[in-house]
């Protein structure tokens, strides 16, 4: 791929995969991977939130020390061709409002820039607050600012008057806000109808580069990939699996992820006598999780809410049928190909919906679905090329033959 001249982009994000949380911000990393081929250079400001539990006075001392240290501890690190990354800690005490958190992100970026504005003419932020605000405060007056919104905490943020006002100001200043789906766009348009024309849908990017060598032949090996928290419905999943396993002892389930429910899930697994059938793989790197998908037969995603549901699209890209709740993003991403890709079920605390959904899927597999069609349809919507073109059209609108540059 060849890049046209003058395509320099700054990206500000609170999330990127890290050593101990390799799955965190995988969607941001995918967007970077997808869009960088169309750029000359990309500077990524990773504002990493570090929690602290101290009083106001000590927090002030820590903040003072941080801003004095940043100029000495500021090291740009190459992160691939044309990309470099700057890691910046943002110490945060608990109970801060979203407005204050955003101001702290902005201050850290400003210090890293020695008070000067970001030099790029295009600045892209991941989530409106905190990073969109940090981008806006530090951008050149003539810079074009874009934001990808995929925060699951958007409703809470909009409930706080201070952060809501900041979001309004950000929308006023930015050139475009990309919601990753209707589940994100709808509340934003409802909250800011006067900015509706700036809020468009540009989904997360998903790699379709790899596909499994052996097609799925039976739905025996279940996989869950995500955090082990109540909002993801993982306890319901375990109960549903227990019922299905009672009908077919060859079924297995792998939990790929970590979280506060891990201990509870393990204890319940033992109580159910499923220790030999359920595996806890822990937190995996994104590439490891994708490889795991190619070794399983069914992705089960029982979440209560998803702004996009990237893992569902990634599973379909890996040739995996999906059993997923109607939790926001997946209805949209699988629209028109629901029965080809798998089965959508209602969100319930009881396992019945998942169990019934699995039975329906099992009974019509493989002839009642078309995984190849689902994969091709999703590639048209969410592949790196598709998403990169959408970004490039927004970032560099004056450049002719834009699509040729990005897809060359």
């Amino acid at each position: 791929m060849a890049a046209a001249p003058g395509r320099d982009v700054a990206v500000v994000t609170p999330w990127l995969p890290t050593r101990v949380r390799p799955a965190m911000g995988a969607f941001v990393q995918s967007m970077l991977d997808a869009t960088v081929p169309g750029c000359d250079s990309m500077d990524v400001y990773h504002c990493d939130e570090w929690p602290i539990d101290v009083g106001e006075e000590d927090r002030g001392r820590i903040d003072g020390a941080l801003h004095e240290l940043i100029p000495r501890a500021r090291h740009w690190r190459p992160a691939g061709e044309r990309v470099r990354r700057l890691h910046l800690p943002v110490p945060l005490t608990f109970q801060l409002g979203y407005d204050e958190i955003a101001r702290r992100h902005a201050a850290v970026v400003r210090t890293a820039l020695d008070g000067r504005p970001l030099p790029q003419s295009v600045v892209h932020a991941h989530v409106g607050l905190p990073s969109g605000w940090a981008a806006m405060v530090n951008a050149r007056p003539d810079a074009r600012i874009f934001v990808t919104e995929h925060a699951s905490y958007l409703d809470k943020l909009l409930d706080q008057p201070g952060s809501r006002a900041m979001y309004d100001e950000l929308l006023h200043r930015c050139s475009g806000l990309f919601a990753v789906g209707e589940a994100v766009r709808r509340p934003l348009v409802a909250a800011f109808p006067h900015h509706a024309d700036r809020i468009t849908i540009v989904p997360n990017a998903v790699s379709f580069a790899d596909r499994r060598t052996e097609p799925v032949t039976q739905l025996h090996r279940w996989l869950y990939a995500g955090r082990l928290i109540p909002a993801k419905g993982v306890t319901t999943l375990l109960e549903a699996f227990a019922q299905c396993h009672a009908e077919n002892g060859r079924l297995t389930l792998t939990f790929a992820g970590d979280g506060p429910l891990l201990k509870t899930l393990k204890e319940r697994t033992a109580e159910l006598g499923l220790t030999g059938a359920v595996t806890y793989a822990g937190m995996l790197r994104h590439d490891e999780a994708l490889a795991l998908m190619r070794r399983h037969d069914l992705l089960v995603h029982p979440s209560h809410f998803e702004t996009f549901g990237m893992v569902v699209v990634e599973a379909a890209a890996a040739g995996l049928p999906v059993l997923v709740t109607r939790c926001g993003g997946p209805e949209e991403s699988l629209a028109g190909i629901e029965s080809d890709a798998g089965e959508l079920v209602a969100i319930e605390d009881a396992p019945d919906a998942l169990v019934e959904g699995y039975r329906r899927l099992r009974d019509r597999f493989p002839h009642g679905m078309d995984l190849a069609k689902a994969r091709a349809t999703l590639a048209d919507r969410y592949s790196y090329d598709a998403v990169a073109q959408a970004h490039a059209r927004a970032w560099f609108p004056a450049t002719p033959a834009l699509d040729a540059v990005v897809t060359a």
């Binding site: 101990v20 602290i52 004095e68 000495r72």
Partner: protein
């Protein structure tokens, strides 16, 4: 590469463990300075990683330095201040202080809850013993400020020109080539 990790808050210990172990695995040397460390975390470090507990430093400071800073100095100050009608009150305060510090030092938890500034004992003793027992004796290619609690101390080291002991400062070992 020789790396000093300041991890006084222990709030990002999994990251510190990963990074220090990797430094050791690559043939470098890693020293991790902590105030307190759980047994679980301690055993996850590569045996080649040197863990330095602040309480251990204080207890092993040779000679009278720690004694002076912790006990004798305040005692001399108390004698100077304890005059007139306030004499009894000042002495009671000092005795309470001395008992508390002695008890904490004996238990090895003298700095358990004092990883940030605001505590004079922490500031006076901590930097001094670190300098004399770790920094002065070794040179480091990199000092990693691994959690927020360590930032004030790193700032003081920089201001006191003791940080040049480490050629670079970073917030993660991944920020530099190693």
């Amino acid at each position: 590469m020789r790396v000093l990790f300041l991890a006084l808050g222990s709030t990002r210990m999994p990251t510190v463990i990963e990074e220090a172990n990797e430094v050791a695995a690559r043939g470098g040397s890693a020293v991790v300075l902590v105030t307190i460390i759980s047994t679980a975390h301690f055993h996850r470090f590569d045996p080649k990683v040197r863990i330095v507990r602040v309480a251990d430093i204080v207890q092993t400071v040779p000679g009278s330095m720690a004694w002076w800073l912790l006990f004798k100095g305040p005692e001399v100050a108390t004698h100077a201040a304890a005059r007139g009608p306030l004499r009894g009150q000042v002495r009671r305060v000092h005795n309470a202080y001395a008992r508390r510090i002695a008890r904490m030092a004996r238990r090895g938890t003298a700095f358990k809850n004092t990883p940030v500034e605001g505590n004079p004992v922490h500031q006076d003793v901590f930097d001094h013993v670190l300098w004399h027992t770790v920094l002065r004796a070794e040179t480091f290619d990199l000092m990693v400020v691994a959690d927020p609690m360590s930032m004030p101390m790193a700032q003081r080291l920089v201001r006191a020109r003791r940080a040049p002991t480490a050629k670079k400062i970073a917030f993660t070992v991944d920020a530099v080539e190693h």
